[in-house]
């Protein structure tokens, strides 16, 4: 029996049958990017964004600098000035260097007011190194990748 199995390549055909079984089109797993963009999870740690209060259009950031202190790569620089009328700190500039960012999420965890959030955007390519350093405006609006028609 074993000799017959050996001569007729039974074990090899067993493996080949597995491969043929998987040729069924219902098992196709390839995602045709960029025609269909992948749906990433809700908690995906992608591009950072500075959130804006929807009611009055002002930034939610209170310039507490906790995100800058939490970052392992120290790539966030927050500057603020003191507003004499409300006696509070107001955010002036917020610089985030995405080229060094490792998307660990520590800044997002540290923010007490949920102003800094890592969104689901992952298309952040730029043509220059300087383009990777995002200022406050880019952070609030988000990256705007060119949409190509396929």
């Amino acid at each position: 029996m074993n000799l017959l199995k050996k001569v007729f390549l039974v074990d090899l055909f067993q493996g080949l049958w597995v491969t043929f079984r998987n040729q069924n089109p219902k098992y196709i797993y390839t995602e045709q990017y960029p025609a269909e963009r992948p749906k990433v999870a809700e908690r995906y740690r992608g591009a950072p964004r500075l959130n804006i209060n929807p009611d009055n259009g002002e930034t939610l950031c209170i310039a507490c600098n906790l995100c800058a202190l939490a970052c392992p790569e120290t790539l966030i620089v927050v500057t603020s000035e003191r507003n004499e009328t409300t006696k509070r700190k107001e955010l002036t500039t917020f610089t985030y260097d995405t080229s060094r960012c490792m998307f660990c999420g520590l800044c997002e965890d540290a923010c007490p007011v949920d102003a800094l959030e890592l969104t689901q955007d992952f298309e952040m390519a730029t043509y220059t190194r300087e383009g990777q350093i995002w200022d406050r405006q880019t952070l609030e609006e988000g990256p705007k990748p060119t949409q190509y028609k396929c």
Partner: protein, 221 residues
């Protein structure tokens, strides 16, 4: 005498790293009693605190007694901390202790060989051997304090694992092991000068000469 470095002795962390804010809704638990927060320490002209040491308790068991009777002077301390037993030995008795533990006490698996640099201490390096015994299911640490320039004997005669582990200790700290079959740099290139894990080697430093020669970067970084 496991005299650990006093807390103020570590080099000043960069300002961004001095706090590690945790996510909200956590009780602000009290941290170590040893070191007050840095700004407060700078502001206080308080009387100098004694250096905090590891709160190790003496380790008393059959194995500890056996080792103490066999080696006497060679072992200066047997303690335990957080449930992990360790003993401090004189540099010359380390290899005999390793042999004894392997042959008599069945500690046949050398888990790790590593070193710690305490630059302000006279005996600069802390050489640590971690052993494990399959039959007893026990782990033990052997520490020894060696000054700079001292060449401890290699453990490759007792455990073959020590070959690459000691090469890494040499590569990172510059501790040469006498009798090692093949002591050369393992993680860094052969011609690199300097020993990175020493405390006086800054984290941004690279061997500029090597980088310029081999990678062609004129700035050396």
């Amino acid at each position: 005498m496991a005299d650990e470095q006093k807390p103020g002795g570590s080099e000043a962390p960069p300002p961004s790293g001095s706090e590690a804010p945790k996510p909200p809704a956590k009780p602000a638990a009290d941290a170590a009693k040893a070191a007050p927060p840095k700004p407060a320490a700078a502001a206080h002209p308080a009387p100098p605190k004694p250096p905090a040491t590891m709160a190790a308790t003496p380790w008393d068991s059959d194995l500890a007694r056996e080792l103490k009777t066999h080696f006497g002077e060679g072992i200066t301390e047997t303690s335990t901390y957080l449930g992990q037993n360790f003993l401090v030995a004189k540099p010359d008795s380390v290899i005999p202790i390793l042999e004894y533990l392997k042959l008599e006490a069945d500690f046949d698996y050398l888990v790790d060989v590593t070193a710690v640099d305490w630059p302000k201490r006279a005996e600069r390096f802390d050489l640590v051997y971690i052993l494990y015994s399959f039959s007893r299911n026990e782990r033990i640490r052997i520490k020894t304090f060696i000054p700079e320039g001292f060449k401890p004997e290699t453990a490759t005669g007792v455990h073959l694992t020590a070959n690459w582990l000691e090469r890494e200790v040499y590569d990172m700290f510059g501790i040469e092991f006498a009798g090692h079959p093949d002591l050369r740099r393992i993680l860094l290139p052969e011609e690199w000068q300097g020993f990175p894990l020493r405390k006086d080697y800054s984290i941004l430093k690279q061997d500029d000469r090597w980088v310029q020669e081999n990678l062609g970067i004129p700035s050396g970084q």
